[in-house]
Symmetry: C2
Subunit: 154 residues, 2 copies
DNA sequence: ACATCTAATGCTACAATGTTGCATCAAATC
DNA sequence: GATTTGATGCAACATTGTAGCATTAGATGT
């Protein structure tokens, strides 16, 4: 543990994040936050469910939905609409939450593009108020692109 | 009917669009295309269903889904993921199909932002291939913003 | 106009994703 | 430890989209 302030690392513990919003620190919320923090990619409700199965206690689908809803309401996590019909979730860290995402249409994975900003200052019609922008790029990820290049015949 | 080539107007008739792809010109497809062409906003499957009810014949949910799928496959229409959990559809016209969309989180409407481009040339990780970009801005539309400004209570 | 061929349709049944109501439990506070 | 209230678990439901298969109707040839 560093004695100097960790410069905007992933550091904030699940407990801290939850307590800071005046919410109850429950096993579900802690487990969800930690799973999201460990994951390299945004996770769908379903993928999260699978992760939590491995963990401590058994969890209900609905409880998981509600935990995720709460995290998003509090600004701890954010929802990504991207690829298929299910939401993906990721923890918001510092200011880097305005990044784009890449959706691979071959393997279905969503990748964070940390250094691609969503939208700077789009010109909106009069009276429109922008709250949030979502940029999703669709195509083939490196792995899937390579695979297609090699075995050409299916 | 102009004798000179109409400079990329909305002109193309449903028949023409369908026949150009070698598809069968059915009442469903024609009605769907015309409904989309008439609409100022991209329409969800459900909204389209409502419009078609008013029209000629009764239509099955599944048929509508399949007609829309076909239109997208052929590049006649395009899907927008935007707001809620349902796809929206709009006719692709000329080159202006790379525009952003605005999702009003109050009234749920999706508005085309014809002059906001989606993404110019984002820097992607090595090996990634971009096929399509989707930019959705979330917030309050002019009507909903105004409404909120007036009646502050509630 | 009629026969023929096949794509498109209309059912039914199903899958996937998310929501609502309500009784019970447990995290926080005293 | 008792109390309070937010979080959970369960059952039932809603919405959105798919799959299989028999029937219909758009295109084509005569
Ligand atoms: Mn991300
Ligand atoms: Mn549009
Ligand atoms: Zn991939
Ligand atoms: Zn609105």
């Amino acid at each position: 543990m560093p004695l100097h302030a960790p410069a905007a690392t992933t550091a904030a513990s699940a407990r801290e994040l939850i307590a800071a919003q005046g919410g109850r620190v429950t096993r579900t919320r802690v487990a969800v936050i930690e799973a999201l923090q460990r994951s390299a990619h945004p996770l769908s409700h379903d993928e999260l469910g699978a992760v939590l199965d491995g963990a401590d206690i058994a969890h209900d689908r609905v409880t998981l939905y509600r935990a995720l809803d709460w995290l998003v309401e509090q600004g701890i996590a954010q929802r990504i609409a991207g690829g298929e019909r299910a939401w993906r979730f990721e923890i918001r860290r510092g200011d880097d939450h305005r990044h784009a995402h890449f959706h691979c249409e071959r393997c279905g994975q969503i990748v964070c593009l940390e250094d691609v900003p969503t939208a700077s200052a789009p010109h909106l019609p009069a009276g429109f108020e922008l709250e949030r922008a979502e940029l999703v790029l669709h195509g083939a990820c490196a792995d899937c692109g390579r695979a297609a290049a090699k075995g050409s015949a299916r």
